[in-house]
Symmetry: C2
Subunit: 353 residues, 2 copies
Amino acid sequence: MKIAVDAMGGDFAPGVVIEGLSLSLPLFPQCEFLLVGHREKVAFYLEKYGLAGHPRITQVHAESVCEMSDPSTISLRGKKDSSITVCARLLKDKSADAMVTPGHTGATVAATKVLVRTLPGVDRPALAASMPTKKQPGRFILMDAGANVDCQPLNLAQFAVMGSVYAEYLFKIKNPRIGLLSVGGEDSKGNDLTKETFKLLEKMPIRFVGNIEPTAAFDGEVDVLVSDGFSGNVLLKTAEGLAHSTVAWLKRAITRNAMRTLGGIFAQNAFRELKAIGASDEIGGAPLMGLNGVCIIGHGSSTPRAVYNAIRVAAECVEFGVLDRVVQNVKECGVAVESHKVPASSAAPAPEK
Amino acid sequence: MKIAVDAMGGDFAPGVVIEGLSLSLPLFPQCEFLLVGHREKVAFYLEKYGLAGHPRITQVHAESVCEMSDPSTISLRGKKDSSITVCARLLKDKSADAMVTPGHTGATVAATKVLVRTLPGVDRPALAASMPTKKQPGRFILMDAGANVDCQPLNLAQFAVMGSVYAEYLFKIKNPRIGLLSVGGEDSKGNDLTKETFKLLEKMPIRFVGNIEPTAAFDGEVDVLVSDGFSGNVLLKTAEGLAHSTVAWLKRAITRNAMRTLGGIFAQNAFRELKAIGASDEIGGAPLMGLNGVCIIGHGSSTPRAVYNAIRVAAECVEFGVLDRVVQNVKECGVAVESHKVPASSAAPAPEK
């Protein structure tokens, strides 16, 4: 199995990525790695981590990098030689079975949508983010977390199927519970999009549990929460924003006087535990489901451990046969589209992570 | 000034509401109260709190109560004699200048949209929820938090104006910063609705600061965050869900061993402080802006202090001249609609809180 790894992606590239790769090499002997990035910079870190000349690492040069401040279309228009674009091309050519990038989410979505395209029957790929639930270590999959800002009911029906496949892999369960993100739990609740989607989902051979509010999703009532990419991204970013706020509030509250500060020192491991729930180190990254290739997008602030886990998820998704399962399930659920060309609109800028 | 108070609204009605009213009476001598609810039940609690026969309290009987489990349309279809519907009718008849309910949000939206209708020039009312930012005691106003699940760009433009008026009152500032909820900070980001709305907002004489992600809103970059009611409700409920999860996570982490538990005891006031940030006691409730009458909707779990503050906000909104300011600003911003009849679609079920 060949995995293309974007060495230049993320805030601490390429050092962090190559350190993550060094953790992966002994554990995934079945994998060969195409390490994509600037020749000299990558070579320097390969040397540093004692990986120079490693028989299962092949360097692939990429001249430029999609910076976090770049627009999403950069991977297709301004920087066609970026590490993300090169990874997408390797995936397209089937030179790689999977790609992993802790880089620019929007640029990755844009490049892969156009270059790699979708699987037969799939209209659009969607980002499957995993969120922690109240009952730890529970999680639910948010699908789509931001790849498609405007969706049709059929897209959401396909997200349900793809999310279901990913949940079967990630949670090692059969028949995951699928909920539709809405503004109330009753069947009649929602906007035009969710009402039409509801009608599709209830007819499909999936375990559809109905409309679900974010509060219920955090309570652990679903395994997959289906949403358009706009609302899904609002959910994701709200959780991120509030988590940052909570850390700031807690820090200030706990340092307000000596007694509290002492308490904070005694309980510091509890705070570390709390912080780890929010961190995505053990999840590694979010797959962009529905592409004709496995693509795992990590967080820009990925640690080596997160990179290692993103590589693990990529390898496991290939071995699980995620692509074939998506094609088959989309067909069996009666929601396959005939042509799977990328519609013009979906090449538009996608959100950054 | 006359304020209609829904005595039956909320989880602990009517006791909590009447206790909240008892706090308000000495502080708002300019207010007379129409206390709406079941005759005997309300009388019992008036007696209990020593308010029986109070010269500034008039009891108004309402036979039924909209339960939290009822659909939103209940106030118009099944329970036309509910305390919410009676309050809405008092507001419609101008028998009351304002109404306050800690009851069913969806039922209140439905009843007031149809009975009270919107102000001249305003197409639809919107719920203005206030959210805490990272920098305490900072807050931002989320507008619409859930009254309209499907919106047009003009609706969002009006929400911006109405949110601006409310921010001027609540934060005591001039020219509040208005942001548009989107999936990225750049001007080009967003879905069809936000892109069209962006074009309207940038032409209006308001302080429009562009597209804003939830993370930036929690960082305190705006005073008003404009959104359709679906995405706004997703934001609100995600914050609520994650806050509950965080409390559960923290409790478990802190009680895992004796050292942490001891630390937790030392720091317990810090946790109380943290919890208070999320509570809406000092805000009291969210106004439904754009109605032809002041309507404050409190949380179902309102404490007497929250009820007191909801009454305070209602009285202050009347004194601030919120209604006239909305009419004037909507006109000055060039976003007034000619007819302000309630469109058929907006009488549809609105989300519950």
